[in-house]
C-alpha cells in the first residue's frame, strides 16, 4: 500500500461527526461494508460481539419509556489517534502511523493475530477476522478490487478509505497540484443522507472540516486519555453549546 516517499505531499486527514444531524440510519455502516470488502459474520457470531463493522452506531437515551428524551446517536470508528495506543503494542509492527496521510495503518500482511492492539484501543474500534467467512455467489461480485480481502487471523479497522485517498493523491500529484477540499471523501461520509459526517484535511485551515471542528460544540471521545484523535464530534441534544 503506498510508499512514503519524500516527494508526495503530506496531508493530515480528519473528520467531523455532527451528533445533532446523525439519525442512526446506518447508511454509513452499509457503505463502509460495501467499500471495504467487510465480511458478513452471520447472526450467531454477530450476537456474540463478533460483528466486523468498521463503523458502528452507538445508541444512547435518557429516561425510560415512554418518557425517553434525547436519543443521541454516536457513530464510532477508528479515531486515527496521533498517539495511538494500538501502535506501540503490536509485536510485529502491523499497526503503524502513516507519515504522509497521518492516519493509523493496519498492515494485514504483517498481522500475526495477537490482538493486543484491539485490547489497547480505548474506543474498541478494531475488529478481528475470527474465521474465513464465506461469500457465496453472487456476493463475491461486489468485492472492491482496490481493497484486500482479509483472511482469518488478521486484525482490521477503518482506514479512512485509504484506497480512495491514495488514488486521489496520485491523480493530484500527476496533475501537479494539491488535493482540493471535498475532492476525496470516505464511503461513510459519501453515504450519509444528512451530511453528519464530514471528511477532509484538518491541516488545512480553510477546509470545511477545520471550520466545523472549531465549533463550540466540538468534543473528542475519551479526551482525557490523551490519544489525540483525528475525529471531532459535535455534541447534539438540547444542551449543545453548554456542558451537557
Amino acid at each position: 500500500m503506498g510508499t512514503q516517499s519524500a516527494t508526495t505531499s503530506v496531508y493530515k486527514w480528519g473528520m467531523v461527526i455532527d451528533q445533532d444531524l446523525c439519525i442512526g440510519c446506518q447508511a454509513c455502516v452499509t457503505a463502509c461494508v460495501m467499500e471495504n470488502n467487510i465480511s458478513f459474520v452471520g447472526e450467531a457470531d454477530a450476537g456474540y460481539g463478533r460483528t466486523m463493522h468498521w463503523i458502528r452506531i452507538e445508541r444512547f437515551w435518557e429516561g425510560a419509556y415512554p418518557d425517553v428524551k434525547n436519543t443521541p446517536f454516536q457513530p464510532v470508528l477508528c479515531q486515527h489517534c496521533e498517539h495511538a495506543p494500538c501502535e506501540p503494542v503490536c509485536p510485529v509492527f502491523a499497526a503503524v502511523h502513516s507519515l504522509s496521510q497521518k492516519t493509523n495503518l493496519q498492515v494485514y500482511n504483517r498481522c500475526v493475530g495477537t490482538r493486543y492492539c484491539a485490547n489497547n484501543c480505548p474506543y474498541q474500534v478494531r475488529v478481528f477476522n475470527w474465521s474465513d467467512f464465506s461469500r457465496p455467489e453472487p456476493l463475491s461480485n461486489m468485492l472492491h478490487p482496490d481493497v484486500t480481502v482479509r483472511r482469518r487471523g488478521v486484525m482490521e479497522k477503518c482506514t479512512f478509505c485509504l484506497q480512495r485517498l491514495l488514488q486521489a493523491e496520485d491523480k493530484a500529484s500527476s496533475d501537479g497540484r494539491q488535493l482540493a477540499d471535498g475532492e476525496v471523501i470516505t464511503a461513510c461520509a459519501q453515504a450519509c443522507p444528512t451530511n453528519a459526517i464530514v471528511f477532509g484535511r484538518i491541516d488545512d485551515p480553510t477546509s470545511q472540516v477545520s471550520h466545523l471542528a472549531a465549533d463550540g460544540r466540538a468534543v473528542h471521545l475519551l479526551e482525557d486519555l490523551g490519544t489525540l484523535p483525528s475525529i471531532t464530534y459535535l455534541k447534539g441534544g438540547p444542551s449543545y453549546g453548554r456542558n451537557g
Binding site: E82, H83, E87, P88, C90
Partner: protein, 174 residues
C-alpha cells in the same frame, strides 16, 4: 628413567583420602600427577589440593557484555536503521530499553556460563577415561602416577591408610 605407572586408589571416607594425598606428596608424587575423582564435590580446601582455576566466571562476564551489546542493537540499532513511527513515542525509549538490555545481558551471562562449563570440562567427551563405577556410589578415588620402583611401597602405605582397592588404571570407555 623407570617407567611411570598410573594407579587408581579407592577410599570410602574423606579423612583417609586426605591423609593419603599428603603421604603421596611426601613420596614425591607432584600435585599435577595426582587427580581426585569423587562422587560428591570436595573443595580444594577440604582435600588440601591446589586451587583450581575456572574460566567460567570470565566467560560468563564476556557473555554478559555480548548480551548487553545485542540488547543495545535490538533497542537502538534496528530502530535507527529501519525507523517506523508508532504511537507518538520516540524511536528509542529509556524504560523499554532497560528491559531489553536486562534480558539480553542475563541471557548472555547464563548461556555463556553453560557453554563455559562445557568448554572448561571439555564436555562432551566420549573417549575412554580412567574411572571406576564405584565413584558414583560416593567413593573417593585418587588417580596417581608413580615410578615403577615405588609402586609396592606406595601401595602398602595406602592400604595401611584404609584404601578399599588399588588397581592399575586403564582407560576404558565410560
Amino acid at each position: 628413567m623407570s617407567e611411570i605407572k598410573t594407579f587408581l586408589a579407592l577410599f570410602d571416607e574423606i579423612d583417609p583420602a586426605v591423609a593419603a594425598i599428603d603421604r603421596l606428596r611426601e613420596q614425591g608424587v607432584k600435585d599435577d600427577q595426582m587427580n581426585v575423582i569423587s562422587g560428591i564435590p570436595l573443595t580444594d580446601h577440604i582435600l588440601g589440593r591446589p586451587r583450581i582455576w575456572s574460566n567460567v566466571p570470565r566467560l560468563a562476564l564476556g557473555g554478559a557484555v555480548a548480551g548487553m551489546l545485542f540488547g543495545i542493537f535490538l533497542a537502538a540499532g534496528i530502530t535507527n536503521l529501519y525507523p517506523l513511527k508508532i504511537g507518538g513515542q520516540g524511536l528509542v525509549n529509556g524504560a523499554p530499553t532497560v528491559v531489553l538490555l536486562f534480558e539480553m545481558t542475563m541471557l548472555g551471562l547464563l548461556a555463556s556460563t553453560f557453554i563455559g562449563v562445557f568448554l572448561d570440562s571439555t564436555f562432551p567427551s566420549y573417549r575412554p577415561k580412567e574411572y571406576i563405577a564405584d565413584i558414583s556410589d560416593g567413593k573417593i578415588a585418587i588417580l596417581y602416577s608413580i615410578q615403577e620402583e615405588k609402586v609396592s611401597e606406595v601401595e602398602n602405605m595406602l592400604n595401611s591408610l584404609g584404601a578399599q582397592s588399588i588397581t592399575p588404571s586403564e582407560r576404558q570407555p565410560l
